[in-house]
Every structure is written in C-alpha cells, then in structure tokens.
Amino acid sequence: MLFLLSLQAEPISRQMLSPQHTLEELSHLKRYAIVIGTGPKEVHTFIDPYCSVSQKYLEYLYEHNGAMLKKYTVYLYLYELKRKNSSEVINAILNSPYRESLLKQVMLDHEEVSGDSDIGNEKIIEAIKVSAEKIGVFKRPYILINGKVL
C-alpha cells in the first residue's frame, strides 16, 4: 500500500516519447496550436495562460522587438494545470478569432477576459490533453525543440 502511495506521489518528470515519435505526435496536433512567429525553426510549447512561468516565457518570446519570432515559429498549446483552473480562459481564447491578441491580453497584460468561454472546444482541448499525456508533459512551459524537451 505504501509502495503504491509513493508511486502516486512521484510526478513523472521525463519525456515519455522519443523525439521522433514526439514530432510525429506534434505534426497532428499543430493545427490546434496558436501560432506565433514566422521563423524557419519550429518550437512547440505547452502552456497554461494562468501559469506565471508560462507568462514569463511568452514575455521572453515577444522581447527584443520580436527578434525571436523572426527566427522561430512557435506553436503554443493551451494545456490546463489543474490547480490553475484555467479551462474557461482557455476556451475563451480558443473561441476568439484573435487568439494571439487575446492570449497576450491574458498572459502579458493580465486582463480579465470575457467571451464565449462556454462554447465547447472539447475536441481541441482533448486532443492536446491526449498528446500531452502521451508525450509526458509534466510542467509549464513545456518547450519542445526537435521533439525534445528543454
């Protein structure tokens, strides 16, 4: 029993898929991402809009007059952290025709957003969740380059 408890308490903090399989997984998932930047190199990141470290990460991406975004194309996957209760805001962002702007409002300007947070995006959210679990996303931001976590 004690053994089982200890197994439960230990978070899985390693990537579950090989880089190659991760890339395969991401190739299906990337249509659900919020894409920022136009650079030749691809970066995939799982974030939670209410996670302060993810917010800092986004801040870095937009820094230096967008130099990063000329070098990289960043695929952002909104993936809720349980304790952050961000499903509503994720829905609101995904429902918006201006996803990137809304994401910035929430994450960088820390604005309260109101919108169609009830309309279902279950398909997207579920797809991200399934892929994240397969890959082994254990933290936010979870940054993947060449299919490997940073």
Binding site: S52, Y72, L81, I145, K148
Partner: protein, 698 residues
C-alpha cells in the same frame, strides 16, 4: 705621394670649393624640416605593434574592430555592504557607461547567471538573468547570498568593473563617494618632448666639453646631431607608410649621429697638432669613410630590410634605421667636414689621451686566462639563453592589468561543431594552465543551463540538443554576449599577475580571431620576435661578410662575430633571468646596440687592417688602432651610455625604459669592445702565424 692624388682628395676639394653653397643648402633643408615636420612624437607604441600583425589583419579582414578592455577596481574596505553601496555602485557604472568610446561595461550588474525559476514541479523554467534591472534591495540580498558565483566581479572587498571601449579614451574623474583605481594603460600619458631632448642635448654637451675641453664639439655636435635628427624625422614623415612617429625614431637617429660625430671629431681633434687644416680633413675622411660606409650598408641592408614586413613597429624601426643611416652617412661626409673646415684648434686637449695609450699597452700585456675565462662564462651565458629560448617563453609587456583574453571562432555559425570546438578549447585550457581562472563562452553557458535543469545528470553535449540551447540563448537575448556578428566568442579570465603569453601561444593555433587590443599586442610581439631574431642573425651574417670582404681573413671575421654576439647573449640571458617583459623599449635598445657594435668592430678592424699595410709590427699596429679607434669608440659608447642613462629619470616609463635598457646594452657593448675585441684580436694575431705576416694587398 701628394695627397691631392690620393683617393677622396678630389671629393674633398669639391666639398671645400662649394662649402658655403652646400652648407647653405643643407641648413635650408634643416630649417625647412624644423618648420614643416609634425612636432608630435609619440611614446604610445601599442597601436604600432598591433598594426600590420597577422592577428590584427585577420580581425580586420573579417571586418571586426579591436577593442580595449580596462579594469576599474572599486575598494569597499571602508564601506558597509548595504543597499546604499549597491546604489552607489550602480551610479558609478552609469558614469562609466557615459565615457566616450565605451561600448560595454562588464560588472556584477551585467553578469548573466542561470537559475531555475521554479514555483513547483509543474511550473518551472531555467532562466538566464542579470541584476541589471533588479532593485538595490534585491541586489543587495541576492549578492549577500550568492557571492561565490560573482567572484570574478566581487571578491573580498573589491568590486571590479571591466570597461570595453573602442579606443584608449581617458577616464575623467568620476564624481562618486567610492574609492576606485584604474588600470594604468587607461590614462594616456603625454610627455614633454622638449624636456627630454633638452636633457639629452644637455648631457651630451657636458660630456663633449669634459672630454675635449672645448666648446667647439658642443656647437658642431649640437648642430650636426640636430640636423641629422630633423632631416631623418622629415624624411620619415615624407616616405614612411606608417604615420605614427615614435620617440625611438629620434633616439636611433641621435645614436647614429653621435657615433659618427665622435669618430670624426675625435680624429680631427687629435690630428690638429700634426698637420695643416686641409690635410687633417683629408685624413679624417680617408680613415673613416670606409668603416662608416660599411656600417651604414649593414644597417641599411640588415635592419632596413624590415621595411618589407607588414608589422608597423618593425617597418617603422626598419625605415627609421634606413633613413638615419643614409642621412647620417650623407651628412657625415658633407656637412661635418664643411663645418670642421671653418675651424682650427691651436692647442687641442683631450681628456683620455694618456689613459688610452697606457690602456693600449696594458692590453698588449693581457692575461690569456682572463680572455678564456670571459669566453667560457659567455659560452655558459649563451647556453643559458638557448635553454631559456627553447624552454620558457618570454613574457610580453602589454601595459594592461585586465588579465582577460577576448577571442572568437574563425568559423562563422553556432552549430554543434563550433560549440564542441569551444568545449575542447575550454577543457584544454583548464587542464593545461593553472593561470586560467574561468572560460566564458556559449559552451559554458550551455553547461550552466544543463546544470540547473538536470543537476544530477553529467553534462554531455549532444548534436540534437544544440538547437534547444541556441533557442534559450536567443530567448534570453544572449547573442550579443556570446556572439559577435555571427561568430561565437570566447572570454578567458586569467589569475591576477599571471603572464598570458603562454596561454596566447597555445590559443593562436586554435583557429581563433583575437579581438582585445592587449592580446593583439601580445600576439604581435610574439610574431615580431621571431622576425627580429632573423634580423639579428642576418645583421651578424652581414658583419661577418663585410669583415671578411675587408680583410679576406676568416679568423678576423670570426672575431667580428664573437664580439657582436657577446653583448646580445648577455642581454638576452638577462631578459630571461630577470624575466624582463619584451617591449618596444627592449627592441629599440637591441637595434641601437646592433648598429653600435657593428660600428665599433668595423672601425677597429678596418683601421688595424690599413695600419698593417705599413711596415709595422702587429703589436704597434694594434696599439695605434686602439688609440685612434678604441678611444673614440669608448668615448662614443660612454657618451651614449651616460646620455641614455640620464633618460632613466624622465618620468615617462617608456622613455625611462629605453634609457635603462639602452644604457645597459651600450655598456655591455663597450665592455666587449674594450676588453674582448682588442684582446681577442691581439691573441689571434699573436698566435696565428698567417695573420702575423699578412699585408695589405688591395
């Protein structure tokens, strides 16, 4: 034989007939040179060394600029470490940033540290941060707890700022309650050249007066040396491709003209009693023109060859010696005889006549053991020099106290290969040199990121991980810190007081481009030294060849070689023994000695050779040579040694060092010329049957 049928007599008659016209022409040239030459003579030689060197050319070819790193040390021993001190340090850094030409300040505020910003297991990210935007209170607390990581900038009671600037701009007084000191080279010391040349001319005049008991050599010598110096500087400005005029130009020109003047004036002075004025001039010219011509040839060909090298300092010295020798030769046989022709001395006195005669007869009764002992010791010294040359690199003076080497990879890009190259260099540096404190590069940054991310996993850089690390470098805006226009940088921090020559010698084979001027200066010196040794050997070879050409005797040519080598090996051994850093002062001193020693040897051997054509014994010819050549040779060297020694008191280190090294080398040369050359010569003519019988056959 009447003297007007002898060689040079037609030339002398021509000279005397048109003496006023020639003198007016020459004086007009000197006057024009006085007014037209740029009066500024520099004692800053750093740029001269760097320009034209291979390392600097590589840098310029890749379109980079070199920059200067200066160290500012803030002493906090009388301060408390609190937010107020942090505020003052920040204000101080701000003031440093506002100095013209400053491009970057490296300090505890700008230092990038890696930290895992972790809220919990689910929210974490490795960040690269600096204290630049942190509050004074946060900075105070952070540094209190993380002092170890900041050792480079914050050690004991000292806070270090490194100023990276585009030029050696002057650090003006900063209004701060902090007490600070700046590495010396940051302060551009100027010197009053009028005072320096005033001292030199004053000492020369005094010595001429003491030796010749007359004001005439002061007047003529002053005019001759001034004319030679001015025309050399003017010609240098006219013909030299290097515009910086170093103080050594004036000093080398002065040395050459002092020796020529002393030989000629001495000869003229002592012959005043014996012959009429015109015949005295004829004798002076005929006895001195051959050795002075050949000395000039050796200087022009041997040292003047340096004008074909790219290094600006060596080019400058080559051009300088070339022009000094040519102009000195021309003036010695135009201006000087003309000036002398206006004067006669009724009762010429000389300080050293009796002592020279008695010294000459003493030398004829020399002790063989003494000679062999000296040669044996010199051989030992030579072995020590050779050991030093091959086993221990010479230290190079770089006038800096920053102990940093800034370089970048020659190959552009930031791929796996480049980062692995940085890794290899860092690992080799740390393993090979105790003097290396720290190596900072993209590789070290990547390693720090890994250590924060996976503290338990040993770091092995894999090809597939490079992109991830480069993403982080981009994200934290580290490109400027770690790269320069597409090339990865490497910053090596050395321990305080360590010699960076060996580290640089190691690094220069690693396909790097060096960027800080102190390292470029060191590398230029390493490169120049190799070339300089070739020049020294070439000059020695020329001396031997010319001596053989004059005498057609191998033993005499061999003596010429020994006599010229001895001062150099003693000096080189002293450089190794006292660990004297190689500087342009040392270089100038060696060049001066090289020209002087060939001068003495050729004058002595030529005079002896000519005297042997007369029906005299070898000893008699030797005594005459010693009196007529040994005396002015000793005088000239003594005058120069005292004059250069007087420069030791000039409060500019560069000039003071030239004075010190040159006077030591000239004294060594003088000792060899007085004690070794004649004795070795006498020993050879006594023991060598073939030489005893030889007659002038030309």
């Amino acid at each position: 034989m009447r003297y007007n049928k002898l060689p040079y007599s037609a030339y002398l008659r021509f000279l005397l007939r048109y003496r006023v016209v020639i003198l007016v022409f020459l004086m007009t040239l000197v006057a024009a040179a006085t007014f037209l030459v740029k009066q500024e003579v520099s004692s800053q030689d750093g740029q001269l060394w760097i320009d034209g060197s291979t390392a600097n050319s590589e840098l310029l070819n890749k379109h980079y600029k070199s920059y200067y790193i200066h160290k500012v040390d803030v002493d906090l021993s009388n301060k408390k470490w609190n937010p107020q001190t942090v505020r003052e340090l920040r204000a101080f850094e701000h003031a440093l940033k506002s100095i013209p030409q400053v491009r970057e300040i490296r300090s505890l505020f700008s230092y990038k540290y890696v930290q895992n910003s972790k809220i919990n297991e689910e929210q974490q990210m490795v960040e690269v941060l600096s204290l630049e935007d942190a509050s004074d209170d946060d900075t105070y607390l952070f540094l209190k707890e993380n002092r170890q990581g900041y050792k480079k900038y914050f050690d004991k009671n000292h806070v270090i700022f490194y100023i990276v600037s585009n030029g050696p701009s002057e650090l003006k007084a900063i209004n701060t309650p902090l007490s600070y000191s700046v590495s010396n080279d940051f302060i551009n010391k100027n010197f009053n050249q009028v005072i320096i040349f005033g001292i030199v001319m004053g000492v020369l005049s005094l010595l001429y007066f003491i030796i010749f008991r007359s004001l005439l050599p002061i007047l003529l010598g002053g005019l001759f040396i001034y004319s030679d110096g001015m025309l050399t500087i003017a010609a240098y400005q006219l013909f030299s491709a290097v515009s910086i005029m170093h103080i050594s130009i004036a000093l080398i020109a002065m040395t050459i003209s002092v020796m020529s003047f002393t030989y000629i004036y001495y000869k003229w002075h002592v012959l005043q009693r014996k012959f009429d004025a015109q015949f005295v001039l004829y004798r002076v010219i005929s006895k001195t023109i051959v050795p002075i011509f050949w000395t000039s040839v050796i200087s022009v060909v041997g040292i003047g060859i340096l004008i074909f090298v790219d290094s600006h300092i060596l080019y400058s010295i080559g051009m300088n010696v070339l022009l000094s020798s040519i102009i000195g030769f021309i003036l010695t046989f135009t201006m000087l005889p003309i000036l002398l022709s206006f004067f006669t001395l009724k009762n010429p006195k000389i300080f050293s006549q009796r002592s020279a005669s008695s010294f000459a007869s003493m030398e004829t009764r020399y002790n063989k053991k003494g000679l062999y002992f000296l040669l044996l010791i010199s051989s030992g010294v030579m072995l020590y020099s050779l050991y030093g040359h091959f086993m221990k690199p010479l230290s190079m003076e770089s006038h800096v106290s920053t102990y940093q080497i800034q370089a970048m990879l020659a190959k552009k890009g930031s791929d796996y290969e480049q980062i692995i190259q940085l890794q290899r260099i860092e690992q080799q540096l740390m393993a090979k040199f105790d003097t290396v404190n720290q190596v900072s590069s993209a590789y070290s940054m990547i390693r720090s990121i890994h250590e924060q991310e996976n503290p338990k996993e040993p770091f092995v850089l894999k090809r597939e991980d490079v992109d991830s690390y480069l993403f982080m470098i981009d994200m934290y805006g580290l490109e400027e810190t770690l790269m320069e226009k597409g090339r990865l940088k490497l910053l090596v921090d050395l321990k305080e007081g360590s010699d960076k020559t060996d580290v640089l010698e190691f690094l220069r084979d690693k396909d790097l481009i060096f960027q800080d001027s102190a390292s470029l200066l060191n590398l230029a010196k390493i490169e120049s030294l190799t070339l300089l040794w070739s020049v020294v050997f070439f000059v020695l070879l020329l001396i031997v060849a010319v001596t053989y050409y004059i005498t057609r005797l191998v033993p005499i040519a061999f003596i010429a070689l020994i006599v010229n080598v001895i001062p150099l090996i003693w000096f080189y051994a002293a450089i190794h023994f006292f660990d004297i850093p190689i500087s342009s002062e040392v270089l100038v001193a060696m060049i001066i000695t090289l020209s002087l020693s060939s001068d003495a040897t050729l004058h002595f051997i030529n005079y002896y050779h000519m005297n042997r054509s007369k029906p005299r014994s070898a000893q008699k010819a030797f005594e005459a040579s010693f009196i007529y050549i040994g005396t002015p040779m000793g005088m000239g060297n003594f005058i120069l040694a005292v004059t250069f020694a007087s420069m030791i008191f000039v409060p500019v280190q560069m000039v003071s060092n030239i004075g010190l090294y040159s006077s030591i080398l000239i004294l060594l040369s003088l000792i060899t010329d007085i004690f070794v050359l004649p004795v070795l010569f006498l020993n050879t003519i006594k023991t060598n049957h073939k030489l005893k019988e030889y007659k002038y056959t030309h």
